[in-house]
Amino acid sequence: MFLTRFRMNTARTGARRLLSSPQVLHAAVMASFPGLLPTQTAAAPNGPRVLWRIDQNARAEVLLYVVSPEKPDLTHLVEQAGWPAAADPGNPGWQTRPYAPFLDRLAQGQRWAFRLTANPVHDIRRKPDEPRKRTAHITPVHQMGWLLDRQERCGFHVVEKPQSERLLPGGTTYRGHEHHGDRYRLTVGDRRGLAFDKARAEGKRGNRVSLVTVTFDGHLEVTDPVAMRRALAQGIGKAKAYGCGLLTLAPLDGTE
């Protein structure tokens, strides 16, 4: 497993083209793996797969993170959307590090800061005889609830805030519902509604893709290292081809 970071040069047309379409960017990420032919399906159903995510930390600090079973070669991304003249053999324009040693070090009880961009959806029907339909969670409370529903399966739980830091009495809203953002060290933000046309296959009409992505930030505690490794390698939730599902961990900054 490898973790790769690439900074986009947002001043370049190539970067704008890549950032404007998750489908184009996914194709570019998948083209980074010499061992992977486009005709192949990306991964075995339960094996590790290529996951990627865009982190925009500032207006011109846009980073692409990729987690992959193989070591990628992002030369084509550097040429289209990086700083090719600044690249040299020692510093090709992206950084890749082995991920497996970190995954092996994960142990029960460890606490980490995490970030996850995900596509929180559920399948609902409004009338009993209606077929179930996939629908996005729109409100932050539901989006947090979506993640909290999955945390045990993914081998972690989101750290709860101490009582002294909560603002709502008993951790509830005025309607009596629990407010996750008040109870947990968890924020949800950067909600984006993506809508784009799938590139037309030959002889077919392009069909419209629309999805809602949000970015979760928070603190977690590892409860099941095996499940946690699986979540880190295989991703969480839907729309993994469109930059969703990649969970990353970072050390807590001393305050905890």
Partner: protein, 243 residues
Amino acid sequence: MSVLALRLAGPMQSWGSSARFARRTTESAPTKSGVIGLLAAAAGIERGDDEALATLADGLRFGVRIDQPGSRVRDFQTAHHGVTGASMPLSERFYLADAVFVAAVAGETGLLTRLFGALRAPAYPPFLGRRSCPPAQPVELGLRDGDSLQQALTDEPWQAAAWYRRRHQDEAMVSLTVLREADEDEHDADHQRDQPLSFAAEQRRHALRTVVSRSVNVPNPDVVRQQAGRPRHDPFDALEESV
């Protein structure tokens, strides 16, 4: 010694110091003659009473803080005589619209206490430079101890209107200009002819006075706490190995 603080806020204000004849300009901040005139009117001092005026004009040091600069409005005025119908001279009159100032006068505590009382029960109603410019709110802010104009004008809360404060809601401190009479050890002073000698109806007379310009930082009560941005998150921090 004390300082009496005033809030000069109204839809229109006009503070002339070099205005002559048919072009009646306004300074961008209240003048000493205008504010002393306002206090003298409140205290009931008659126009020809130069001695009573001198106790105010000479006994008080003057400073003003520009809390909300406002905008300059030009009025092109045509008028005809009410009886004869003869046309009066065409004149241009300038006003400051939507401006707010904090003016302060420093002097003897007894005198300022009397003036403060007079502002609360004025003999003649106060106006902001021209009779047609009434204040929007009570003028008096209160008596402050100490005799430093600079200190009094720094400590006074920001008086700008709500809509103007909202425009600056992302600034924790606002920088305001203070124009005041110079202390003895300040040599960078400018001069302005607005030290009143006589408000007599036949002839108004003014002497020069010093003006120094300083800026003060005043806390903004309406600052919106910037939402803490996304926390820094770099997954590479968790990887010890380097390749």
